[in-house]
């Protein structure tokens, strides 16, 4: 298991390095941010001083070297926009997104396991057809539309929920989480259903049934354990998408998360914040991928053997 883990860490770290370097170089190709941060009539001397003060007049390799040496000391620079430490801004925003992603995926997985399993238990039944239709709709709904409709219907029309914001009780979570959960739930229901249909027709399930095992034991005790591997893979991918930033939800509902921070830093050419945000999300996704691989290996010993040395 240790050697498996080591191999996975090495193979997953390579894309991480490429992502960090790629973002660093591509961001600089968008130009010098001096126009955004200096007064309209700043003199060429002021522009040159600004560029020199922030290292933008150095070549990209020199800037990259400076970035890497400072990052090695956990110094990610200062935001051009706010004057705050880039690391502080990112570390303030990231937990918000992690909380949204965590709650969303917990609800999506639990809901999908239940609904997908029920649908698979009797293929082509009414429950299966309703679950299939709803999951298809859920997986296809544009999240920005769903979010705005949620605000107008439940926030303004029915007056059941706050329109947006983070301060308040459980009610402030409802619309953001509903918006985020709907697509992963729809996708996962389809995956669980497909995987469970195969598992429920496997010989070991027939044996369990012939021995008089009840429906609950057959579905959750035998079939689901064997059907969960593809669900884990897809859930991992969906979680990665959410960790990257739930931009729509963060923007519409005013949640100060990492996605909104990244978009703002891209638009404002705030390189230090962008790089710090990309680094922390890339590392988290790297760790998440390792976790998913380890879970796979623990569930299925064939996975451990399949990874080449």
């Amino acid at each position: 298991m240790t050697s498996f883990l080591g191999r996975r860490i090495v193979s997953s770290a390579i894309p991480l390095v490429f992502v960090v370097l790629g973002v660093f170089c591509l961001a600089r190709l968008t130009g010098n941010p001096v126009d955004l941060y200096l007064p309209l009539s700043a003199t060429s001397q002021q522009r040159a001083e600004f560029s020199a003060a922030h290292g933008f007049d150095d070549s990209i390799p020199v800037q990259l070297w400076d970035y890497l040496t400072q990052a090695a000391q956990f110094d990610f620079g200062t935001s051009l926009r706010t004057g705050q430490s880039a690391a502080t801004m990112v570390l303030d925003a990231f937990p918000v997104t992690l909380q949204l992603a965590g709650v969303t995926m917990l609800l999506a997985i639990l809901g999908a396991l239940l609904v997908g399993s029920l649908a698979a238990y009797r293929p082509n039944s009414l429950i299966d057809r309703i679950a299939g239709l709803l999951s298809m709709i859920a997986a296809s709904i544009p999240d920005f539309w769903f979010a705005i409709m949620g605000v107008l219907v439940f926030g303004v029309g029915l007056d059941w929920l706050p329109t947006s914001g983070t301060l308040g009780g459980a009610e402030v979570w409802v619309l953001p989480i509903a918006t985020l959960v709907i697509r992963p739930f729809g996708v996962l229901v389809q995956v669980v259903r497909g995987s469970m249909v195969g598992a429920l027709s496997a010989p070991y399930v027939k044996v369990a049934r012939s021995k008089g095992a009840g429906a609950g034991r057959v579905v959750f005790g035998h079939a689901l354990r064997n059907a969960v591997t593809p669900v884990l893979t897809v859930a991992g991918d969906l979680t990665v998408g959410l960790v990257n930033g739930a931009v729509i939800v963060e923007t519409i509902f005013g949640w100060p998360g990492i996605g909104k921070l990244m978009i703002d830093s891209i638009l404002q050419r705030d390189f230090a914040v962008l790089q710090a945000a990309v680094l922390i999300t890339a590392v988290t996704i790297f760790a998440l991928n390792i976790l998913v691989d380890v879970c796979h290996a623990l569930i299925d010993p064939r996975v451990r053997q399949a990874v080449p040395a």
Partner: protein, 504 residues
């Protein structure tokens, strides 16, 4: 565990980020979180709308409606030498930290904003390259000396917010101390800024003891917050979200126009530039795309600003005449088929993408070849500011210019001077007229600017004007507030008060 940790973000507070409708907190929704509350950055909209005249105050304030300068921390001012102005400093004023306000603080604040290396926005926007000699000659008297005589120096000084002389001079501050009616109580990054009434305020206490700012970038959500009673005021509503019950329109001193790069063919031909002006159906665009809220424009300087020319009218919408001008140019060898890039900035105003498409259609209709490039702010600034990009062909830039300073000098120095930071070309005669107008004051100044704006239209025609815009302010029926042309940049919370029952 996740649900537990979730409480770190969503804790139990009663009524959302802006607080409850208790009548003692004024709840304002902005379009974005201010990047900083540094007073010397308050000429930028995102910072100024919170800071100016709320947390800090200037020596002089300009009445946005009449344009008249009014005393604030200075009780009087006069030109004591051709290049020197003297300001009398108000006594009995203290900063929010208890420090008394004197002429030394005023001198320090001007020096810090204009003469320091902080690269303050107000320095570039209002003073350009000019350096000032600022002296506190007594605790109640201040002199400001310029290299050349500056008849509108008091107007320029009105842009400088006063801070105590203990303020950092090496770096910009994030949370300021001022003399204003409110002080910053708490800035919860990413969520809200809370202000509390300044108990030491020298003037009349504002009606609301507290104010809270939150921000939502989506206009529908801002409108929903007003409709639901979660907020009292919001800036910048979209016309489609506005109703007569939740909003009020106001002139925001912004003017939209196509800036035509006269250095590149076919835009280097004045017939082509004038033809574009004739081809624009201003009334149609205003009715269909700007919700009928704007007014057709014939100049960059809006009404109410010194130098606005009341006699100028937009060119009549005449497609046949415009087409004939383009044909004439073509016959003289102007490459009218060369592709023009129409650059517009995403989100600059509601309906900008559709407006760009309408302009493209109208220019194509008179025989020009136009493509649209929608750009984010950083990219559009590369097209808008000098040094202008090279080898990009002819550019028609859809600009929105806001003159909040109240004097045409701030428009002409940027957009009409041959080497203005936002101008593509000009003429020596126009430059001479601008310099001459700048040296004048009073009615002569207003007339000189009005005349040169007419001259620009007739002989230079760098701009095809579209409209003097109007903003839409979201306003709860429970709040009394009258927006003015400065509201988008300087929302004075002390001018808001609760509507008493039965007096709506």
């Amino acid at each position: 565990m996740l649900l537990t940790s979730a409480c770190t973000v969503a804790n139990s507070d009663a009524a959302g980020d802006a607080g409850s409708a208790d009548g003692s907190t004024l709840r304002v929704v902005l379009t974005q979180e201010p990047p900083t509350l540094e007073p010397c950055e308050s000429s930028t909209t995102a910072t100024g709308v919170v800071v100016r005249s709320n947390i800090t105050e200037p020596l002089i304030e300009r009445d946005p409606t009449s344009g008249k300068l009014e005393p604030l921390l200075s009780t009087g001012w006069r030109q004591t030498k051709p290049t020197t102005w003297t300001f009398d400093i108000r006594t009995g004023v203290t900063f929010q930290n208890g420090q008394p306000f004197t002429a030394k603080d005023a001198a320090f604040s001007i020096d810090r904003a204009v003469n320091s290396n902080l690269a303050c926005n107000v320095d570039g926007y209002v003073f350009g390259d000019e350096k000032l000699d600022v002296r506190a000659v007594s605790p109640t008297r201040l002199t400001v000396t310029t290299k050349k005589a500056d008849p509108i120096l008091p107007l320029r000084i009105s842009f400088i917010e006063i801070v105590p002389r203990t303020t950092d001079t090496k770096a910009k501050v994030r949370i300021p101390i001022g003399t204003g009616p409110y002080a910053v109580k708490k800035w919860q990054t990413g969520v809200s800024i809370s202000l509390a009434r300044n108990p030491k305020y020298w003037g009349k206490a504002p009606a609301y003891p507290r104010a809270t700012y939150v921000w939502r970038s989506d206009a529908s959500v801002r409108a929903a917050m007003i409709n639901k009673g979660e907020a009292d005021i919001t800036t910048s509503l979209d016309p489609m979200d506005a109703t007569k019950d939740n909003s009020v329109a106001y002139p925001n001193n912004e003017t939209t126009a196509l800036r035509l790069d006269g250095r590149e063919a076919p835009l280097d031909d004045i017939r082509v530039r004038k033809a574009i002006g004739m081809a624009i159906d201003r009334d149609g665009i205003i009715d269909a795309l700007l919700a009928g809220k704007a007014k057709p424009a014939a100049q960059l300087v809006p009404p109410g600003v010194v130098g606005h020319n009341d006699d100028l009218a937009p060119p009549s919408y005449d497609v046949a005449k415009a087409r004939a001008l383009v044909k004439q140019a073509k016959a003289d060898g102007v490459p009218v088929n060369r592709r023009i890039t129409l650059v517009a900035r995403n989100g600059q105003f509601a309906g900008i993408a559709e407006t760009a498409e309408a302009l493209q259609y109208e220019m194509a209709r008179i025989g020009l070849n136009v493509r649209i490039r929608m750009a984010d702010t950083a990219t559009s600034l590369q097209y808008q500011l000098r040094p202008l990009p090279r080898d990009v062909g002819p550019i028609a830039m859809l600009v929105q210019h806001g003159n909040q300073a109240g004097d045409a000098a701030f428009t002409t120095s940027q957009y009409l001077l041959s080497n203005g930071p936002q101008s593509t070309f000009g003429t020596k005669e126009l430059d001479r007229r601008i310099a001459a107008a700048n040296a004048l004051s009073g009615k002569a100044r207003a007339k000189a600017f009005a005349d040169l704006l007419a001259y620009q239209n007739k002989t230079v025609a760098q701009f095809a004007y579209l409209a003097h815009m109007r903003g839409l302010l979201g306003l709860s029926p429970s709040v009394r507030y009258r927006p003015n042309s400065a509201t988008g940049d300087e929302m004075r919370l002390a001018e808001a008060s609760p509507v008493k029952a039965g007096k709506h």
